[in-house]
C-alpha cells in the first residue's frame, strides 16, 4: 500500500496531539518543587558563617527548620524565593550536631544534618574550678582542680586536648600534663605534710588561667605541755594565774591553726572541776584564772577535745592569813570584821569576799556576802529581818572560818 500524504496527515495530527498531551502531562509533573543541598561541606567550625545552599528546581518560598541542642528555629532564605540559608549565630556558635529540614508549604523537601565543631583557631578560654578551697595537711586530704578548655564561643575543645596543670607549694613546683576527656580535664592534688598555701593554675596551648589558691591547714593537734605563771603563790583571791601551753603542733610538726580552743580543766581540793579556756595564737594558748581565796591545790590539765591533751600540772596556793578580828557592836546587831591582813601584813586588796551564815535553831536562815573595803566588812542585822533572839553566826573569809554560837540580838 502506498503511503499517501492524506493518510499521514491525520496520523501526524494524532501523533502531535499525543505528544503534546504527553508533553503537557510530563510538564505538569515537573511542576512539583524539589530540592537538594548544594553545599558540600557538612563540618563547620563554630563561629564561622554557615550557609546552606539548596538547589531548587523551581524558585519558591521555602523555609528551613533548624534544630540543635541549643534550641530550634525556623529561618527564611536570605533572599526572596532564594535557596540560601544562613544559620543564626546562636546555633552556629555552638558545638554539636545541627539537623535541618527544608520545607515548602509544610512539605518536607529535604533534610539532613551538619556538624559544628569547636573552633580551635580562636582564642582559648579556660574555665577552671578548684575545691575545696581549704584542705588538711598530711597527704590524705586533697583538693580537685577541674579545667574545661573552651574556644571563644564557650565550646569545650575536643577530647585529648593537652592541659598543663601546675601548682606551687612552699619550695615545690609541680607540673603535670593531662588530657581532657569528656570535655573536662581534672586532677586531684593531695596535701603535703607542711601546712601553707597551695597556688595553682592551668595552661592550654598558650592560654593560662588565673591563679587559684588552696589553704592547707594543719592536721589534728598532738599532745602538749602546760605551765603556769603567777605573780605570787598566795591565795589572795585577787591576782591572776596564767596557764600557758607549749607550742601545740600536729603530727607533721605544723603549728596548729590560730584560734584553736584549748580547754583547761582544773580539779580543786574538793574534787570539783573548774574550767577556763584559751585559744591558740602561734600554737600557744593562754588561759587565766583568778587566785583562789583560800588554801588550795589545783590539778590542771588541758585538752583539745577528743584530740590532744597535756600533762597534769599541780599548783598550790598558800593561805594569806591565819585569823581575823570580829567586833560586835550595837547589841550585836552590827558586826565588823577585819581589818583583814594579807601575807605581808598589808591590808587585803578591796573586794575580798566575806561570808556570814546566820543560823537560828540549827537552821540556816540567811547568808550575807560582802566584800572588804580597806580590809573591813560591816554587817548589819536589821531588826525588821532579825527579830530579837539567839542566833548562831558563822563567818568565813579567805579560808578562815569563825563561829559565834548563841549570839543574842536585842
Amino acid at each position: 500500500m502506498k503511503v499517501k500524504l492524506r493518510h499521514i496527515t491525520p496520523l501526524l495530527i494524532v501523533l502531535v496531539l499525543c505528544i503534546s498531551i504527553a508533553f503537557t502531562a510530563v510538564l505538569e509533573k515537573t511542576e512539583e518543587v524539589s530540592a537538594a543541598l548544594i553545599t558540600k561541606k557538612t563540618m563547620f567550625n563554630a563561629g564561622s558563617i554557615i550557609m546552606l545552599k539548596f538547589k531548587l528546581n523551581i524558585p519558591s518560598e521555602t523555609q528551613l527548620f533548624v534544630h540543635s541542642s541549643y534550641g530550634s528555629t525556623v529561618i527564611n532564605p536570605d533572599t526572596h524565593q532564594g535557596s540560601q540559608f544562613t544559620i543564626p549565630s546562636f546555633i552556629a556558635n555552638k558545638k554539636g550536631i545541627v539537623t535541618y529540614t527544608l520545607f515548602y508549604q509544610s512539605k518536607i523537601l529535604t533534610q539532613g544534618e551538619i556538624q559544628i565543631t569547636s573552633n580551635e583557631t580562636t582564642q582559648i578560654y579556660l574555665e577552671s574550678y578548684i575545691g575545696p578551697p581549704s584542705i588538711i595537711a598530711g597527704g590524705k586530704d586533697y583538693t580537685m582542680h577541674v579545667v574545661v578548655p573552651t574556644d571563644a564561643y564557650d565550646n569545650p575543645l575536643p577530647d585529648s586536648t593537652a592541659i598543663v596543670m601546675k601548682h606551687q607549694f612552699l619550695e615545690t613546683e609541680k607540673e603535670r600534663i593531662i588530657y581532657s576527656k569528656d570535655m573536662i580535664g581534672w586532677t586531684n592534688i593531695f596535701s603535703y605534710n607542711p601546712s601553707g598555701r597551695l597556688l595553682l593554675f592551668s595552661k592550654v596551648n598558650k592560654k593560662v588561667s588565673k591563679e587559684f589558691s588552696v589553704d592547707v591547714f594543719p592536721a589534728l593537734p598532738e599532745n602538749f605541755q602546760i605551765r603556769s605563771k603567777r605573780k605570787h603563790m598566795y591565795a589572795d583571791g585577787n591576782q591572776i594565774t596564767q596557764f600557758i601551753t607549749s607550742e601545740i603542733k600536729d603530727e607533721y610538726d605544723n603549728v596548729i591553726s590560730d584560734g584553736t580552743l584549748v580547754d583547761f580543766v582544773i580539779k580543786d581540793t574538793k574534787g570539783v572541776m573548774l574550767h577556763t579556756q584559751g585559744s591558740t595564737i602561734n600554737g600557744q594558748a593562754i588561759a587565766k584564772m583568778l587566785h583562789p581565796d583560800k588554801k588550795e591545790t589545783w590539778e590542771v590539765k588541758a585538752y583539745v577535745q577528743g584530740m590532744a591533751e597535756s600533762n597534769t600540772l599541780s599548783i598550790t596556793y598558800t593561805q594569806v592569813l591565819e585569823d581575823f578580828n570580829v567586833q560586835f557592836n550595837n547589841n550585836n546587831r552590827e558586826i565588823i570584821i577585819g581589818p583583814l591582813q594579807s601575807f605581808m601584813e598589808q591590808l587585803i586588796p578591796d573586794g575580798a569576799m566575806v561570808r556570814m551564815d546566820i543560823f537560828k535553831e540549827q537552821k540556816k536562815i540567811d547568808t550575807k556576802i560582802k566584800t572588804t573595803s580597806e580590809g573591813i566588812v560591816r554587817f548589819l542585822l536589821q531588826e525588821g529581818f532579825y527579830p530579837s533572839g539567839s542566833y548562831d553566826i558563822q563567818i568565813k573569809a579567805l579560808g578562815v572560818q569563825k563561829e559565834y554560837k548563841k549570839t543574842i540580838l536585842q
Binding site: 584560734g259 570539783v272 585559744s279 587565766k288 573586794g351
Partner: protein
C-alpha cells in the same frame, strides 16, 4: 430667714482647714494608722488591679479593707508622691467632715445659726482631733463625713419622695461603703434608723398641731404610709453595701479572720486602766461631759426620741469593759473583735449639733437671757469664759498628747535602710524591723523587699501570728509572752520564712537575737543595727499567691472611684452650693420643724449646774488621787516605787534625788556606779510589777522589802530588794545601797586574741559571688545525739564539735519521725553555743515548739513570761529522728574569756563564781548545764541566764538549782541519721578524727549525787552588748 452665705460655716471651713491642715504635717505621720493607709495607697499606686501584696505576712490580699481612701492616696501620689496623697486626702476629709456635720446639724435643728455653731465646734471637737491627729483613722473620718452628707438626702427622699433625693442619698452611701465598711453598717443602725424615726415623727407632726399630739397610732399610720420609701431606700442601701465591696465580702467568706482577739484599750475597764479611760473616754467626750444633761434632755424630746435611744446605746457601748453591758449587748465574739472607741466617736459626733445648739442659745439665744436674768451678766461671762477655757484646754491637751507622750519611736530616717536593702541583693531575703512602731509601714511602702511582719493584722495567714494576740512582731515586747514567743519562733527558724535581716531600733531585742543565733552585721548611719542570720536560703523567684477572678479585680479597681465620680457629678452643687449659699427658692422641708429657742427650761438649767458641780468634784478627786499617787516622797512605799520607776526609765538624776541627801554618796559616785553596771537586769529589763512591803516603820525610818518582777527579752526575773528609808523634812528618802568594791589586780593588761575577717566578695561585682570567694563550710562533728522525753516533751539533745580550723556558726535542725512520718521539725534555740572556735564543743538541745494556743479552748496564761514554752502536741511518740547541722564561717561573737573560777556543789544546787579574764565586757552570761547519768551518757541539757553582766577582770556569782531528772526517759545514742553540711556525720567522723579520744569528754564532768543524774558539766555562752 437669712439666705446669704453662712458666715459661721465659712469661718469653720477656713479655720478648720488652716488649723488641721497645717498641724497634720506634724501629727499625722506619727499617728497609729496613717502610715498603714499610706502603705495601702502605695500598693494601689503600683498595682491598681492586683489585690495580692507580697510585702507583708508572706503575702496577703488587700481585699480585706475597703479601698477608696487607699486608692485616692494612690491616685494622688502620681501628682506629688505618697505623702502628698496622704495629706491631700486628710485635708479633703477635714472639709468633708465640717460640711457634713453642718448639714447633719441643719437636718437635726433646722436652724442655720445652730448648724454654723456646730460646724465651728466640730472643728475643735476633741473627738475629731483625736481621731485625726492621734489615731489617724482617715477612712473612718471620710466614711462618717460622707454618711453625714447622705443624711439630709435620705430625709428628703423619705419625706418628699422625689427620686432625685434617693439617687443622691444612695450615691453618697456608696462612697461611704467603699471608704469604710463598718461605718455604713453601724451607721444604718445608729444614724439612719433614728433619722427615719425622726422623719416619721415630722410627718406625723404635720397632721396634728404639736409633737405632743403625736401618739403611737398616728406614728404607726405615718410609718405605714412612708413604708414603701423606707423599704426602697433600705433595699437600695443593702444592695450597695453588698455590691460596692463585693470582693471584700467574698474574701471575708473565703478567708475568715482566724486572728485571736488582740487586746485593745477601748475594751479595758477605764477605772482600772486609767490611760485607756483618758484616751477612749475622757478625751473624745471632752467638753461634752459638762453639758450631758442638756444633751440627754434634748435627745429625749419627742422629735429626737430615736436619736436619744441611739445616743444612749452608743454611749453605753463606748464605755468598753468598764461595765459588763457592752459585752452582754455585743456578745463575746463581736466584743473582742470590734474596737469600741468608734461608738464613743459616733456618740460624740451625734451630740455635736446639740452642743452647737447649746452654744447658740448660750451665746446669743434664750439661755443667755435666762442666765442673765437669774444670775446676772457677770456670771454669764465668767461661765462663758470657763467654758471657753476648758474647751481650749482640751484642744491643747489632745493636740499635744503625742508630743508629751509619744506613741511612736522617734522618726527613723529610712534612706540608709532602703540603700542597704538595695545593695548586694539584700532584698532577695525577707527582713524584719524591730522597734519601728507604725513607721514599719512607711518602710514597707518604700522598698520592694518583703517582711514577715505587717501592720494589718486581720490579713494575716501564718498560724504563728494569727494564734497570738500580737499586733506586730515589731513591737512584741509590749505584748508579753505572746509577743516575745511569736518573735522567738520567727528568729529560731528563720529559714522557713527566708528571713535573713533584722533591723533593730530597740536594744531590748538584741539579746534574744544573739541567743537565737543571729549576729550583728553593722550599724547603719541612722543608728539602726542590722542583724543577720547565716545559712538562710534566698526567696524563690516565684512566690505563691491566692488569685481571685478577673471580675473581682475589676470591681475592686473600678467601683470605688466610680462611686466618687458619680456622687461628685450629681452632688457637687449640693455639697458646695447648697451648703454655702442656697440658690434654691425654698428651704428644704426639714426647715419647718425647728423649735423656737424661747425660754430655756429652768429645770434643765438647775440640773446642768448640779451636774457641772458634780463633774468638777469628780475631776477634782481624780486629780487629787493622781497627785497622791504621783507624789513621790510622801510615804516609804511611794519613794521606793518612784526610785525603781526612775531606775526603770533610766532617769538616774531623778533616782539620785530619792537617795538620802545626808549619805556620803555623791551624785558623781552614784552616776558612776550606774554607768558601770550592765547586764540583763540593768540594761534589758522592764519593770513589770513592784510590790513594796513595809517590814518595819518608825516615824522617821522604815525598812521595806521590794518584790520586783522584771521582763527581759529572755525571761522573767523576780528579784527581792531590801531598802532602808529615812524621813527628812517631811520627805522620805532611800538609803543608798552598796556597790561592788572588788579591785582588779591589773591596771593595764594585754591579751592576744585571734580575730577574723571574711571579705565576702573580693571583687566589687554585681554578679553572683565568684566561685573562689566562697569559703568552705566548716566541718562539724556530732559526738552524740538522742531523743529524750522529759515532762512529756520530746527533745533531741547531743554534743557537737567544730573540728575544722576556722570558727563556725552552727545551725542545728532536728526532725522527729514516727515510722517515717514527719512529726515535727525545729532548730536549736538558745540551749547551745551558736558560735564555735576551732575544736570547741557545745551541748545542744532542740525543743519542738508548737504554736501556742492553737486550741482556742486552752486558757492563756494571764501573766507575762517570755520563757513560756508551748510543747508541740504529738499524737504518736517519735521513734526516730534526723539531725541536719550546718556550719558557716563565723567571724564575730567569738569571745571565750569567761572562766569558772570557783564552784561549790551542794545537795540540790551548785553555786560558783565566774571570772571574766578577757578584754570584753560580758553583758549577759548564759550557763549551759549538761546532765549525765552514771555511765556518763548525756541525758539532759538545761540553761540559766545570769541577770548581771561581768566586766573585765571581775567576778560574778551564780547559783543554779538542779533539776529532778528521775522521771526522764533516756534515749539511745544514734548517729545514723546525722548529717553535717549535707554529708553523713559518720563518714566525716571516720575521715577527720579517726582516733578520737572519748575520755576527754569525761574530764570536765563534775560528780553530783543528783536525782536521776550523776554528773554535770557547765559551759558558758556570752552575749556582749557593745563589742570593743
Amino acid at each position: 430667714m437669712d439666705k446669704s452665705t453662712n458666715k459661721y460655716l465659712i469661718s469653720a471651713l477656713l479655720v478648720g482647714v488652716i488649723f488641721h491642715g497645717t498641724s497634720i504635717f506634724f501629727t499625722l505621720e506619727s499617728t497609729y494608722d496613717a502610715l498603714i493607709h499610706l502603705f495601702f495607697g502605695n500598693h494601689y499606686a503600683n498595682n491598681w488591679f492586683e489585690p495580692w501584696n507580697y510585702s507583708w505576712y508572706t503575702g496577703f490580699t488587700v481585699m480585706g479593707y475597703p479601698p477608696l481612701v487607699h486608692q485616692s492616696i494612690g491616685l494622688l501620689s502620681y501628682i506629688g508622691g505618697l505623702k502628698f496623697g496622704l495629706f491631700t486626702v486628710a485635708i479633703i476629709g477635714i472639709i468633708l467632715f465640717i460640711t457634713g456635720i453642718y448639714r447633719f446639724a441643719l437636718v437635726l435643728t433646722s436652724n442655720r445659726n445652730v448648724a454654723g455653731y456646730t460646724a465651728i465646734f466640730a472643728v475643735f471637737s476633741s473627738t475629731f482631733i483625736e481621731t485625726l491627729h492621734v489615731f489617724g483613722q482617715l477612712p473612718s473620718i471620710i466614711g462618717l463625713s460622707i454618711l453625714l452628707h447622705a443624711l439630709p438626702e435620705i430625709y428628703l427622699w423619705i419625706k418628699v419622695g422625689k427620686y432625685k433625693y434617693l439617687v443622691n442619698a444612695l450615691s453618697l452611701l456608696a462612697v461611704t461603703v467603699t471608704s469604710h465598711h463598718v461605718t455604713p453598717i453601724f451607721g444604718m443602725v445608729f444614724f439612719i434608723f433614728p433619722l427615719i424615726g425622726m422623719i416619721i415623727m415630722d410627718a406625723s407632726r404635720e397632721q396634728v398641731n404639736s409633737y405632743k399630739e403625736v401618739r403611737f397610732l398616728l406614728f404607726f399610720k405615718t410609718f405605714l404610709s412612708l413604708f414603701k420609701r423606707i423599704v426602697s431606700f433600705g433595699l437600695g442601701s443593702l444592695l450597695l453595701i453588698i455590691i460596692c465591696i463585693l470582693p471584700y465580702w467574698i474574701n471575708t467568706k473565703n478567708n475568715p479572720i482566724t486572728q485571736v482577739p488582740i487586746p485593745h484599750g477601748s475594751r479595758d475597764n477605764f477605772f482600772e486602766v486609767t490611760s485607756s479611760g483618758l484616751v477612749f473616754f475622757l478625751i473624745p467626750w471632752g467638753i461634752l461631759l459638762f453639758i450631758l444633761p442638756y444633751v440627754w434632755y434634748r435627745f429625749y424630746s419627742k422629735r429626737y426620741l430615736f436619736f436619744g435611744l441611739s445616743f444612749t446605746l452608743l454611749t453605753i457601748l463606748g464605755t468598753g469593759g468598764t461595765t459588763p453591758i457592752p459585752r452582754m449587748m455585743l456578745g463575746e465574739n463581736a466584743f473582742n473583735i470590734l474596737t469600741l472607741d468608734r461608738f464613743t466617736l459616733w456618740a460624740s459626733i451625734m451630740a455635736l449639733p446639740i452642743f452647737g445648739e447649746f452654744g447658740y442659745r448660750f451665746i446669743e439665744g434664750d439661755l443667755k437671757k435666762s442666765i442673765q436674768d437669774r444670775y446676772g451678766g457677770v456670771y454669764r461671762r465668767i461661765l462663758g469664759g470657763l467654758f471657753m477655757g476648758t474647751f481650749v484646754f482640751i484642744v491643747f491637751f489632745t493636740m499635744s498628747l503625742g508630743y508629751f507622750r509619744p506613741f511612736q519611736p522617734q522618726k527613723i530616717k529610712m534612706l540608709p535602710i532602703l540603700n542597704f536593702l538595695q545593695q548586694d541583693q539584700h532584698d532577695h531575703w525577707r527582713y524584719l524591723p524591730l522597734g519601728f512602731g507604725d513607721q514599719m509601714a512607711w518602710l514597707s511602702a518604700q522598698t520592694n523587699a518583703m517582711t514577715v511582719d505587717g501592720n494589718y493584722h486581720s490579713a494575716r495567714r501564718l498560724p504563728e501570728l494569727t494564734t497570738r494576740a500580737v499586733e506586730r512582731l515589731e513591737n512584741s515586747k509590749f505584748r508579753g509572752v505572746e509577743g516575745i514567743g511569736s518573735l522567738q519562733q520567727f528568729l529560731t527558724v528563720p529559714e522557713k520564712y527566708n528571713l535573713k535581716y533584722v533591723f533593730s531600733n530597740d536594744k531590748f531585742y538584741d539579746p534574744i537575737l544573739y541567743f537565737c543565733g543571729w549576729q550583728r552585721l553593722r550599724q547603719l548611719e541612722n543608728g539602726i543595727m542590722v542583724w543577720e542570720k547565716l545559712n538562710v536560703p534566698p526567696l524563690s523567684s516565684i512566690l505563691p499567691k491566692e488569685d481571685v477572678p478577673m471580675f473581682q479585680k475589676l470591681m475592686w479597681g473600678l467601683i470605688p472611684v466610680g462611686t466618687v465620680l458619680f456622687a461628685f457629678i450629681i452632688n457637687i452643687q449640693l455639697i458646695w452650693i447648697h451648703g454655702l449659699k442656697s440658690k434654691q427658692k425654698s428651704f428644704p422641708v426639714y426647715f419647718k420643724f425647728g423649735i423656737p429657742y424661747e425660754g430655756f427650761h429652768k429645770g434643765i438649767l438647775k440640773i446642768s449646774h448640779l451636774w457641772g458641780g458634780v463633774m468638777i468634784i469628780v475631776f477634782g478627786i481624780g486629780f487629787y488621787k493622781l497627785y497622791i499617787k504621783n507624789a513621790k516622797q510622801i510615804s516609804p512605799v511611794n519613794v521606793t516605787e518612784s526610785y525603781y520607776d526612775a531606775l526603770d526609765f533610766k532617769e538616774f538624776e531623778r533616782a539620785y534625788s530619792y537617795l538620802d541627801p545626808s549619805s556620803d554618796k555623791t551624785k558623781d559616785q552614784f552616776m558612776l556606779e550606774i554607768a558601770v553596771t550592765d547586764g540583763l537586769l540593768s540594761s534589758y529589763a522592764k519593770l513589770d510589777e513592784i510590790k513594796v512591803n513595809i517590814t518595819d516603820k518608825t516615824d522617821s525610818t522604815a525598812k521595806v522589802k521590794a518584790l520586783t518582777s522584771w521582763i527581759t527579752p529572755l525571761e522573767k526575773i523576780d528579784k527581792t530588794f531590801y531598802h532602808e528609808l529615812v524621813k527628812k523634812n517631811k520627805k522620805w528618802f532611800v538609803k543608798p545601797s552598796l556597790y561592788d568594791l572588788d579591785i582588779p589586780p591589773d591596771q593595764l593588761f594585754v591579751e592576744n586574741t585571734a580575730e577574723y575577717h571574711n571579705h565576702g566578695r573580693r571583687r566589687i561585682s554585681s554578679e553572683q559571688t565568684y566561685h573562689e570567694d566562697v569559703l568552705k563550710q566548716p566541718v562539724l562533728e556530732v559526738l552524740s545525739a538522742k531523743i529524750v522525753t522529759y515532762e512529756g516533751r520530746h527533745v533531741i539533745i547531743g554534743e557537737l564539735q567544730n573540728i575544722d580550723n576556722v570558727p563556725a556558726d552552727v545551725v542545728i535542725t532536728g526532725t522527729l519521725y514516727e515510722n517515717d512520718i514527719l512529726l515535727a521539725r525545729y532548730n536549736a534555740k538558745h540551749q547551745m553555743k551558736h558560735k564555735l572556735m576551732p575544736k570547741e564543743t557545745t551541748s545542744f538541745r532542740v525543743n519542738f515548739e508548737g504554736i501556742a494556743w492553737v486550741d482556742q479552748k486552752e486558757r492563756k496564761p494571764e501573766t507575762f513570761n517570755p520563757d513560756e514554752f508551748t510543747p508541740m502536741d504529738f499524737e504518736d511518740k517519735p521513734n526516730t529522728f534526723d539531725l541536719q547541722c550546718a556550719g558557716n564561717v563565723a567571724t564575730v561573737d567569738l569571745y571565750k574569756g569567761v572562766a569558772i573560777n570557783e564552784l561549790s556543789v551542794q545537795k540540790d544546787h551548785v553555786e560558783g563564781v565566774l571570772f571574766n579574764s578577757g578584754l570584753q565586757e560580758v553583758t549577759i552570761p548564759l550557763l549551759l548545764i549538761s546532765y549525765y547519768d552514771e555511765n556518763k551518757e548525756l541525758i539532759w541539757v538545761d540553761h540559766q541566764y545570769l541577770p548581771e553582766g561581768i566586766r573585765p577582770q571581775r567576778k560574778q556569782y551564780f547559783d543554779y538549782r538542779f533539776l529532778n531528772l528521775s522521771e526522764i526517759e533516756k534515749g539511745e545514742n544514734n548517729l545514723k541519721n546525722v548529717f553535717v553540711n549535707g554529708l553523713s556525720n559518720t563518714v566525716i567522723s571516720d575521715k577527720v578524727v579517726p582516733e578520737r579520744k572519748y575520755d576527754h569528754q569525761f574530764a570536765s564532768m563534775i560528780p553530783v549525787d543528783g536525782k536521776g543524774f550523776s554528773y554535770i558539766k557547765l559551759e558558758i555562752n556570752t552575749y556582749i552588748g557593745a563589742p570593743k
